[in-house]
Point group: C2
Chain length 454, copies 2
């Protein structure tokens, strides 16, 4: 069914909608160049070389709709490996709509979300995990998320899996061979070597699966709740962190300052700082709702930064708060970071595990940033493959479970056919990630999340 | 000063910001190709032909920022007539920002609004009125505004002015010649022929200036206030008009239905229908504010469509309302359109100047639409040059005044030097429109209204 649909020539706007100097419309399919040529007043596009650009007008009958540049990509030298024409027109939504309708009237059909990239996958331009990285790349908004997506798109992750898969296939074929000779009780596949390999693979899978925790915060940003009593300097701390923020995540993404979240990029990692209403005010009934929300935020955060005034006497109060917060962080598997502010003033003894800063004077801010990075273990894993895709984690998890059954079957010997079954299953899940094994449903599910025009 | 600045290589995003599959960054200037090449991992761009496309990566040191397509346009075969590179990258704002910063670090500078088009003008690609049409084309949101902008961009208006100007220059030179022989009292320029020509030009100018009224409504949409007592069927009428609306102005422009304005395109002309609170309720003090707003809307409208119920007995009341509305339309130089709704019911005698419709049954809607088009005189002027630019109108107005002084000087003979002065002034204003005469201030003023990247 997919291959039939692929015969269609599809069309969509590839650039964002809105006011801009130019818009780019993309046509892909066998008839792309023919359709573009049929409304083009200029050179005969069907007689031109690939990767060339042609100036001319697009006409609907006698009416000139726009003066455009036509970029030609002749199959298989295009993103989709099909014939592709990219039409660069004036960025008027009226013109863009008119042109898309014109192409449809000449035989193209509107592309579905992600359909260009799905064709790139189906035609072997990208494997599935690379195709998924294209969407991540477009959505990337920090250095770290960009780096991970770029690495994945360029096939880093795929290559790592491919190697594992090939080694596993080698043993699978030997075990399969044993099945053919099952009555002779031979072992073509050396059990010791097989065990060593599978243990190594399980180790790699474990690392990859664990990396998702980091990958997820890289993709979504690390949620950090700043809690503390009123007037301990929460806003001053946020401003001090923002001043250090040399990336301009907030500017670009169009986030506004009047939301309760501030996005700050620290060494390329996006942290989402959530300012909260004062904590420990539950006695005050009017505040109860605000506090409830605070606890909700606290439960969703990866890090709780509890800020207190180094110059104030808290007594048992502080110890009690810390104890309460430790219960929460243990329950949520999050991290508690105690920060004593106003370190420039005379201060009383503060808990040993606290950091000292002066938000106002910018003292200790760099150390605090490094501490935040340490907590999420970014620096130590920065050069490893980091998973950011929940689908991949699930497949790897299932693969790992199958391999653990294989290991079990080696220790408590089972017949070769059981081993073969589990190895096959492991291979299946590895294959699902790169798409060497895929179903229509799976593809539909992945590509429908793409934007139209990609 | 302008020509110095032109040596710079400028860079900007040419596509809208926001989520999209791709973004296009434009570099223009002597060093455009060199700068692009310095960060490109792929073919040597400086050794490639114009109008070719090259796939590769953009790197910042060792870091791969994106995989891109580079489109090359070698001077003078580009929009600006300079070297131009268009970089088609993944549509992530992080990547786009990173790439633009990279190009700036390699020697480009951020382009100012309209700077690409200003360069196209300064390098003789477009005249000034054509350059202005580029902005209009991008902003066009209906068939008529698109058509007018396209005509102007393709030079229709400029050619018309050019012809007038050439004929005028002919006489100007003859009059100037008379100045050289001023003591001999000769007339090289035949006063009768000159009068005929100038009268003809004044006639053309008068028509062009008048066309601005239409041009303006085409560009902005025609504001139509629908007034009438509650329950006469205003909403039903709007829906009936919307159903006839085969263009999808509202869909594309993202206008929402819950605003009080409905945009409907009738034969390519955009009408902005403004629903109002009931009229004639001034007795009700609580409604006073709403009514005040209604009258404000009425004063801004080009057409007042007064809807009444054909089946209801209004008596003198209706006559009084009509009289009041006539006073308003005369004062505002707008048009009154009386429409009797519910014509399908038994109805009483309605004022002779009224149209009869049934909004519910769709009777008379087509006729109403034609009437609306007739009121703005679109059909009869559809194939003429229509002015949409206030700057042009002002220049033509001043040109016309100067020419009227020339005519005056022919009737009540003045010396040739007075004639020559006025003709020169007329030529100056004509030249200002196409930019054959321009100043830095004028250009600054025009192009600063463009979007960045154009």
């Amino acid at each position: 069914m997919l291959s039939n649909k692929q015969q269609d020539t599809i069309v969509a706007l590839a650039t964002p909608t809105g006011a801009g100097a130019i818009g780019v419309i993309r046509l892909s399919g066998t008839r792309a160049i023919e359709i573009a040529n049929s409304v083009f007043r200029g050179k005969n596009l069907e007689a031109q070389a690939s990767h060339t650009i042609h100036l001319g007008s697009i006409v609907d009958g006698e009416q000139v709709i726009d003066e455009v540049l036509m970029s030609l990509f002749i199959a298989p030298r295009s993103y989709t490996k099909e014939n592709v024409v990219e039409i660069s027109c004036h960025g008027s939504s009226y013109i863009i709509d008119k042109l898309i309708r014109l192409f449809i009237s000449k035989g193209a059909r509107p592309a579905k979300p992600g359909e260009f990239t799905m064709r790139a996958f189906l035609n072997g331009q990208l494997d599935l995990s690379q195709a998924e990285a294209v969407a991540d790349l477009i959505a990337s908004s920090s250095e770290a998320s960009h780096k991970v997506a770029m690495q994945q798109m360029r096939g880093g992750f795929s290559n790592e899996l491919k190697k594992l898969r090939e080694e596993l296939i080698h043993f699978a074929s030997l075990v399969e061979l044993e099945l053919d000779f099952s009555e002779e009780d031979v072992e073509f596949a050396n059990r010791e070597l097989m065990q060593t390999l599978i243990e190594k693979i399980v180790q790699v899978l474990t690392r990859l699966i664990r990396s998702f925790e980091l990958g997820n915060v890289i993709k979504q940003g690390v949620p950090v709740v700043i809690a503390g009593k009123p007037n301990v300097g929460k806003s001053t701390l946020l401003n001090a962190l923002l001043n250090e923020d040399r990336a301009i995540v907030s500017d670009i993404a169009g986030t506004t300052r009047d939301t309760i979240e501030d996005e700050i990029s620290i060494q390329g990692i996006k942290f989402r700082f959530i300012d909260t209403a004062g904590i420990r005010d539950t006695e005050d009934i009017i505040e109860a709702k605000g506090v409830e929300k605070t606890f909700e935020k606290i439960n969703q955060s990866a890090i709780i930064l509890y800020l207190f005034d180094a110059a104030e006497t808290y007594g048992d109060d502080l110890a009690n708060i810390i104890k309460d917060l430790q219960v929460i962080t243990q329950k949520n598997n999050s991290q508690l970071l105690l920060v004593a502010n106003k370190s420039d003033k005379n201060h009383i003894s503060i808990p040993a595990e606290s950091m000292s800063i002066s938000a106002l004077q910018g003292i200790g801010i760099k150390e605090l940033e490094q501490k935040l990075l340490d907590i999420i273990h970014y620096t130590e894993h920065a050069n490893e493959t980091i998973l950011t895709n929940a689908r991949h984690v699930e497949a790897l998890q299932r693969c790992k479970e199958a391999l653990e059954r294989v290991l079990n079957g080696i220790h408590n010997p089972v017949t070769s056919d059981f081993l073969a079954m589990d190895i096959k299953e492991a291979l299946h899940y590895l294959g699902e990630i790169t798409g060497s094994i895929s179903t229509d449903d799976l593809l539909e599910n992945i590509f429908s999340k793409f934007c139209i025009g990609k």
